[in-house]
Symmetry: C2
Subunit: 294 residues, 2 copies
């Protein structure tokens, strides 16, 4: 079950892996992991979102709205497999210049953009597949970026904290199909913050603020950030993520720890996250998915 | 079905109405409505939460943790019916000095405070009833503070906005039993903000901020604030509320309007809310509860 033979088979069958790169630390983590697995890669950084560090790799800058150019470049370079990774906030329509291919797809794109995130992403996925590409999940080409199971740092969750994790998981299992968000903060079995469009970092900043202004009056080192993939979410397109900023935000919010689904959340720089968490006295827990042993 | 004969019967049967007053505009609105209905009232403002304007009324200042003093004062003044109204944030334990009665109740209070809001409030309700008082809802003594049904201001919700309201209502019906919060913001059928410990005003401020920093990129006048009472919530203890600040916050968040459950939300100064909403071009809609005609 080593990934290398499979990866090199891909290399022969499908040419280089196309990685469409949004912002954040994940695109390069995925590129490095795919290269380590023996796969040739070409990055397609999205202008306005991806950072300049992608230029150390084979790359072609792309713009939202230029789907025709993207697909012709991918074909020219012999790419058949494509991975989406990194943050791309919903673009403002007036910032977009459309090429002809995109223009033809426009009615479909508009109908997609009216819905929630899941709808948006799965719609874009189908468009790629209809154009003859194979959409893969970042975790399929770079399984080592997936969250491992169990206690990861020096700090273990207490019994009460495990109860808070369980409350958070139950709530997220119910709210998942509503396509609201992937994370929440539970303190003493009570949901004090629920993530939606603001994202995890801003939700944690809010908890820090609610503590500072006395609206949340709990002892420090109380509460758990819980993140799970939404039910029915296409994991090729929108895996929840855990990064160093998440650990820093959880520490500033005075939480006791972080619990995310093992295998269901991608992690950039796990060693640094664990170091920060240990330093702040936070636990980091990989939750076994339901139905398997924890 | 006029409320006056019933109110004066209460006046004879139960002495003055005790109104335990937290912060905000609601305590005096309820006191005025109860007095208009012919009921004698005594205010019990909670120190640190209620404003000085209560002192124009018959009143006895009280402190959290002094349940013995509160009940003996209520008995001395001949009160049997009691209403809780206004904001009382979760107190910090170190700010509380307990009297003996409260001390005896402490194990029960601690067990109550570990749960969510519903648990907290229904627990406190039972403690009052066990002490021989009758807990009434503010809406029972002052039905005119309840949200009316239908379009209230000059602006009507569009068909798309009615769809957003329906999405919000469906999500809140599912999340209600989870005891998270009573409000959310929906834009183009997508939940962009979900209220928890921060309350409605801060949630609306967040939406304004997400618009300002480009994280929400929608045209202005898009989106609806929806508020419903949580399912199973004890309406004597925690009715969701709508105030002038809510209308101002919705306008700053660039929303199209506000929809709250008719009969399920209390409103302070409806005329002023409608004036502000008209000025900002917001609709204000009272949603008929499910199963009745809208």
């Amino acid at each position: 079950m080593s990934s290398s033979p499979q990866a090199s088979r891909h290399a022969h069958a499908s040419g280089p892996l196309a990685i469409i790169c949004g912002g954040g630390a994940f695109p390069l983590a995925v590129a490095q992991a795919a290269r380590r697995a023996g796969r040739e890669v070409v990055l397609f950084p999205v202008r306005g979102f991806a950072g300049a560090e992608v230029e150390a790799w084979p790359h072609v800058w792309i713009a939202i709205g230029r789907f025709g150019r993207l697909t012709s470049e991918m074909r020219r370079l012999g790419c058949r497999d494509v991975v989406f990774i990194g943050n791309v906030l919903r673009p403002r329509l007036r910032d977009i210049r459309l090429d002809w291919t995109t223009l033809m797809l426009l009615p479909r794109v508009v109908s997609i953009m009216r819905g929630g995130d899941d709808h948006l992403l799965s719609g874009l996925g189908r468009i790629f597949e209809d154009a003859g590409f194979r959409l893969l999940g970042a975790h399929e080409v770079a399984p080592e970026i997936l969250m491992p199971a169990g206690q990861l740092g020096a700090v273990a969750a207490t019994r009460e904290e495990l109860e808070d994790i369980e409350v958070g998981r139950q709530v997220l299992e119910i709210t998942g199909p509503l396509d609201i968000g992937q994370g929440l903060v539970v303190m003493n079995r009570h949901v004090v913050a629920m993530e939606a469009a603001e994202g995890t970092d801003l939700m944690l900043a809010r908890v820090a603020e609610l503590r500072a202004n006395g609206r949340i009056r709990r002892a420090p080192r109380c509460g758990v950030l819980v993140k799970l993939p939404k039910a029915g979410q296409d994991r090729r397109l929108d895996m929840p993520s855990l990064g160093v900023r998440t650990a820093e935000g959880a520490a500033r919010a005075g939480l006791a720890g972080i619990a995310v689904e093992a295998g269901g959340v991608i992690v950039a720089d796990l060693a640094e996250i664990v170091r920060k968490a240990d330093e702040a006295g936070l636990f980091i827990h990989g939750l076994a998915p339901r139905g398997r042993a924890s």
